[in-house]
Symmetry: D2
Subunit: 301 residues, 4 copies
Amino acid sequence: MELGMVGLGRMGANMAERLVRGGHKVAGFDPSADARKAAEANGIAPASSLEALVKSLPAPRVVWLMVPAGKVTDDTVDALLPLLARGDTVIDGGNSNYKDTLRRAQLYAAHGLGYVDCGTSGGVWGLKEGYSMMIGGDEKTVESLRPIFETLAPAKDQGWGRVGPVGSGHYTKMVHNGIEYGMMQAYAEGFAILKHKEEFGLDLHQVGEIWRYGSVVRSWLLDLATDALGKNPNMDGIAPYVVDSGEGRWTVNAALELNVSAPVITLSLMERFRSRDSDSFADKLLASLRNEFGGHAIKKE
Amino acid sequence: MELGMVGLGRMGANMAERLVRGGHKVAGFDPSADARKAAEANGIAPASSLEALVKSLPAPRVVWLMVPAGKVTDDTVDALLPLLARGDTVIDGGNSNYKDTLRRAQLYAAHGLGYVDCGTSGGVWGLKEGYSMMIGGDEKTVESLRPIFETLAPAKDQGWGRVGPVGSGHYTKMVHNGIEYGMMQAYAEGFAILKHKEEFGLDLHQVGEIWRYGSVVRSWLLDLATDALGKNPNMDGIAPYVVDSGEGRWTVNAALELNVSAPVITLSLMERFRSRDSDSFADKLLASLRNEFGGHAIKKE
Amino acid sequence: MELGMVGLGRMGANMAERLVRGGHKVAGFDPSADARKAAEANGIAPASSLEALVKSLPAPRVVWLMVPAGKVTDDTVDALLPLLARGDTVIDGGNSNYKDTLRRAQLYAAHGLGYVDCGTSGGVWGLKEGYSMMIGGDEKTVESLRPIFETLAPAKDQGWGRVGPVGSGHYTKMVHNGIEYGMMQAYAEGFAILKHKEEFGLDLHQVGEIWRYGSVVRSWLLDLATDALGKNPNMDGIAPYVVDSGEGRWTVNAALELNVSAPVITLSLMERFRSRDSDSFADKLLASLRNEFGGHAIKKE
Amino acid sequence: MELGMVGLGRMGANMAERLVRGGHKVAGFDPSADARKAAEANGIAPASSLEALVKSLPAPRVVWLMVPAGKVTDDTVDALLPLLARGDTVIDGGNSNYKDTLRRAQLYAAHGLGYVDCGTSGGVWGLKEGYSMMIGGDEKTVESLRPIFETLAPAKDQGWGRVGPVGSGHYTKMVHNGIEYGMMQAYAEGFAILKHKEEFGLDLHQVGEIWRYGSVVRSWLLDLATDALGKNPNMDGIAPYVVDSGEGRWTVNAALELNVSAPVITLSLMERFRSRDSDSFADKLLASLRNEFGGHAIKKE
């Protein structure tokens, strides 16, 4: 097929490259000239503007967005709207909030344009291993894009599917990331316990390697954790500072909206908050309160 | 009544003083000469050794222990054993683990000695306001000590009681402290949220004052938190480092033994662990793992 | 002062009555004729409609809303708007989401109308003991309402205050309720542990009574819990089904928005979700998964 | 090699069979005649007693225990002691608490006997896919058992290793299971959220299938969850009742002992407690307390 890729960052560039390798014809736009140049070297036809990108595509056009969620996606969606024509389709492959997706899809539908949301997992490894894609949208539209998904996926009929109407793809990806937070935290806690059991002198990289084969906890995340522990067993030079990028808190919000208890996903997120708050007011107040009632000593800063 | 107080630290000295003020005759022992001297100034007859203390008491003797839980209590209990005679009673008013109490009581019973556990709450304010006492032991023995408890309590018939057989006093106090952890953490989280809502410019001391009268969350801990916020609104100079002294983790152990879900008490304890682990290995691994799969930047130490 | 009370339910009727007792002149409206009749018996002048209520008040008018948060408040606020005149003031004393309050206040300000939010705590006990009130709004407007707050509060200068601009009152009350969830859960967990420690045969009502005097965990909620345990020690006939009314989840949302870790408040809320989900899909999947990997038996429904 | 297998239940029988298939000579004992008969059909030489089993083995003997942790393991270890001779080795492949293992190993060492702990993961799938084995013990002893481990593992040099001194194998397996609890709970929460988002009509089996390929959350547990969701999408007939078998709570205890925060592992365990407590006293007290302060209705049982 032929399609345009908007956003040639880490994810977009890799996906465009995988599509080119798979025999598709891909035009690409990114505001960064360097990014366009790098993409060109990988067989992607660079476009100097959104307009140029759209013009370079045959109708009905297919444009894949791989840009940061939120304002950038909104701006891009708005900028593309007048450039597209009835029958064209935009696929948002980024980590958009599904509520934004529903709003954007409604806008596009009102103009006779297709809108598909594709929750995309796989990170920097997707170029090589393929991407897992949870797709929301009109059945016919999604079906028309099949060759694209078959190429991006790990295998033709594996790791992708239309899960429901527009919005459901990003919703499913959001929950995917919530689960990811919980799994990561479970591994981190477990390895931390092993690390602190100093009398056994455990080699955490070795433990990870053992678990990778035959154990109940084997997983891709374990493969990566084991790799990380092999390269840097004591996590030297790494700050205990864990960023979150939004999907986790959306998942908690979703749980709240549905009255579903999700303690592990929620705690995993809040533990990240705590990791970034080295000056916790709550903990200072707790220390102060212990002093108030019990005369317990306070550690000074 | 007449009794001996072993341990004239913050808690023991105050309790002895409250007993003296209440008309009791109190002899006191502490390894520290300064502590003995300070106690003497408050009307307590100082004893230079456990032996001297015991000898100074009329039979049947009553000895109150107010010493650190664990080894010190064990050593004291063992040292007193040969000094006491059938019919004497030891009251452990400290924060002993109830399992230790059961063991010690069994030993004492085998020698015809009474053993009473008194979970004591009230902290440094008890001298003035009286202590809350959860008492475990033989009914008759506890009843014989009634004048002591009536004096130590906030009022003659308030804030104390025999809750069950030996061990049950310390068990009840243990759970009391578990609840305390949860309440403290709830306040700390709430005030932290208010603190971070900078646009409203809230005065946390004022908020605490408002809540102290008529609100659902009014409590003695809130009185203290409000006081602390009045003296140091930004918790300047206080490290976000929260100590725990054992009862919290025993409460979690108790929950595990009984298959009772106690998420709030448990999380309150673990939040304290996290507060003391500014170099969290788990969080470093999480940051490293995010880099592994998503190429996300790592904050350097 | 003279004011109108809209909503004569449990809270509104009590507040109106306390104001009348305090010497204020109160007109009241409620869609229920029974509620109006009951209010009249307590000295409140009943109005048969919002219009009649407003007309009965002298300018500048003061109208206190004590109606359910959300749609009912929105409808009332909208219905009052054309009835009021420049200089009049509406006080929302209910549990509105502060974001709704900000929106409504903006609308009112555009019409020269005052809008004050008053987070009100105290429940059914407020009539007798007074209410704790966290007030947001323009300084001058709040000051003009001082006689009302002084009467509703437990004492003239206790339990109420302007905490900041409009919205801040409801925000502070929201966090107050979040703390309340955490405290309640802490007590509930603690008493559950004591209950399950059957070998000690503890009398939970007695334990509560002891804790009420001198202990670190003494509080008004403990007073109530003790009362409940006295009336129904085994909680016979009560379903383990805990409702939440909104402020708890807003507090969690607030924590998420501010990146503040609030594990105890959050878990308290989610535990309530779980209490209402006797058919937990998550737990069924867990049981099923244990069977998948370990051949562990599944309990049939 | 030649070895004796004690315990021919689900795990022991499978492991013995895998060893036989791998060319080892295995004698087996189980108190159940049926189990012995079934084992015989798979090439295992049945022994009618522990004595007979030990006598049938050449010195130095190797005996693998695959019996329930706790009392049964203690009884077996004690019964074997007088039957064995200096140089013989016992391997405990079950889920023993590492503290018990340390105690038993000390006893065996005093008699010149080898004791190796092998934390074994893989469940009912191990026969086909091999077992993941975390081994603790003397280096020389473990090395002498290499052929056994190479056969039981998924591949000769994968999925097994000596992680440290005796006890460290069971410790590592304990933490493995703690991580397992957290991962399982994360998946269960995520799928429950998807399930409750009824408007999207998601097919959870399909979602699981998509995630299995290329996604960040792919894992063996996900493979199994997906399989379970395929066979029984609505979990019909399965009670929301989740058993735990000990390692989870030991992991929490280990975290407490080491002052390591492990909220996700802990919450996963407590959620299982809650799943089994359909009559939660805590929740009844919460419902009762809401009624006390707010007059909120109580759901009757």
